[in-house]
């Protein structure tokens, strides 16, 4: 039977002081893994959303496939990828990216279809080509909802990165795993707090960004339906 020392404090601050360098590099890795995942995720989701927006019939199959990807547990996906891509960044990223797709596509399509019909008519009447209509009218108006999707995807990804520790790349998840293996509470608590803090600050940052980009919308990310 494993017993924890009774005198062990919830956080032993001296340990944190001694490991600042490692903490910094794991936080950096966490941010890097998240950024790569969201950027690649958006790069894939954006064209698919435009396709779904233009050709309505493609929406159901696209969300079906990405829905299945979303449902597969992250750990399962990581484990299945290890024989193919090894204990690498690629393994973690494939899992993280596939998880963001559904969220991003749903929101981007919802944002685009929330643009009022008469606004589009007016733009066409003013001589906008379909491409101009998309970039000058539809996308700017859809931006709050699109960014709302990016916020959800980012926050979920940051939480999910910790699981990547099991396949070797997990940002601050490494501390949680190490803490579990050695039953060292300080590391576990710190890993959890760091991850949550990262997620909440990313959420706040994106919220501010959206305010800056769309000063006209007072109710950010309002549901279009």
């Amino acid at each position: 039977v494993i017993v924890l020392a009774d005198a062990e404090p919830i956080i032993r601050w001296s340990w944190i002081g001694e490991h600042l360098g490692q903490i910094r590099s794991q936080v950096a890795q966490h941010i890097e893994l998240t950024l790569i995942a969201v950027v690649i995720g958006f790069a894939i989701a954006f064209p698919l959303s435009l396709l779904a927006h233009r050709k309505r019939w493609t929406y159901a199959p696209i969300t079906w496939v990405t829905g299945v990807l979303y449902t597969i547990p992250s750990l399962s996906l990581f484990v299945l990828l290890v024989p193919i891509t090894g204990l690498s960044v690629t393994t973690v990223e494939v899992g993280l990216v596939s998880y963001t797709l559904l969220i991003l596509i749903r929101n981007t399509v919802a944002g685009l279809s929330s643009v009022p019909q008469d606004v589009k008519e007016a733009a066409r009447g003013m001589g906008h080509s379909p491409r101009q209509l998309l970039w000058r009218v539809e996308l700017p108006l859809a931006l709050p909802v699109i960014i709302a999707g990016i916020r959800i995807a980012t926050v979920s990804t940051i939480a999910l990165v910790t699981v990547g520790a099991l396949v070797g790349k997990g940002g601050v998840g490494l501390f949680i795993l190490e803490g579990l293996r050695t039953l060292f509470q300080t590391e576990i608590v710190m890993g959890a707090l760091l991850s949550a803090a990262l997620a909440l600050s990313a959420d706040a940052l994106l919220f501010l960004l959206q305010r800056r980009l769309t000063p006209w919308s007072r109710e950010p990310g309002r549901d279009p339906a």
Partner: protein, 235 residues
């Protein structure tokens, strides 16, 4: 291909560590956690939603729930059990508590938004007809809110089934055993087979609850969309 061999080998379908036993454990863990979560989240969500003052609470809970990693919650629950009730730490306890904590936010948020989102005119009309607060709640608000509430339950359940896998890390049972043991022994076939089983169970959960939702609350089309949409509306 080896994974298929592993999955179809008769030896893996019987005994203490057989697929039926592990699947049953997995469902037991998930079921107990969902029951606990529903017991807490449904009444809480209904009360907050009924008073129509809950959007801030709903968003905050959703945000917090999303930003705390499930992996961390599980490990923290394990440590808490080791400290407070060491005898229970190696059983179902920590996993069930952790999974319930994870399931609560989506259920509460969806319930609050669903009940709150019921057309105020309909509520006024019901009151005007002389319905009591209780009858408005059970006769009008809850039936109208049912599709969204079911969507929240479904999201929570899929997440719980997926996360129950991690329970094997803290010496728990379930299908995660194959993944964790396979990893520890360098047996990728076993790990992959476990991963396939968990994925299949998660997808099955989604489909079954989707079917249940269609029966109980016919207007639901897609659960996840609501979880996304809900957050936007609540802002």
């Amino acid at each position: 291909v080896n994974v298929i061999h592993w999955l179809t080998a008769a030896a893996h379908w019987s005994g203490e560590n057989g697929i039926p036993v592990r699947t049953f454990e997995h469902l037991q863990l998930s079921g107990a956690a969902m029951a606990l979560a529903l017991l807490i989240a449904l009444p809480a969500g209904v009360i907050v939603g009924h008073t129509r003052r809950g959007s801030v609470a709903a968003v905050t809970i959703a945000n917090l729930g999303r930003s705390v990693p499930s992996f961390a919650v599980l490990v923290l629950a394990f440590i808490a059990f080791l400290r407070l009730a060491p005898r229970l730490a190696f059983g179902f306890g920590p996993t069930v508590v952790a999974l319930a904590l994870l399931a609560i936010p989506p259920i509460v948020t969806n319930t609050v938004v669903a009940v709150q989102g019921v057309d105020p005119d309909a509520v006024d009309a019901a009151r005007g007809m002389g319905m009591s607060g209780r009858r408005v709640l059970f006769g009008l608000e809850l039936p109208l809110a049912a599709p969204l509430i079911m969507a929240g339950i479904r999201i929570a359940a899929v997440q719980v089934v997926a996360t129950a896998t991690l329970s094997a890390l803290i010496a728990g049972g379930g299908l995660g055993r194959y993944i964790v043991d396979g990893f520890a022994q360098g047996d990728h076939v076993q790990a992959s087979a476990g991963a396939v089983l968990v994925a299949a169970l998660a997808i099955l959960t989604e489909l079954v609850l989707g079917g249940v939702a269609r029966v109980v609350a016919p207007r639901t089309t897609s659960g996840r969309g609501h979880w996304v949409a809900v957050r936007q509306r609540a802002r």
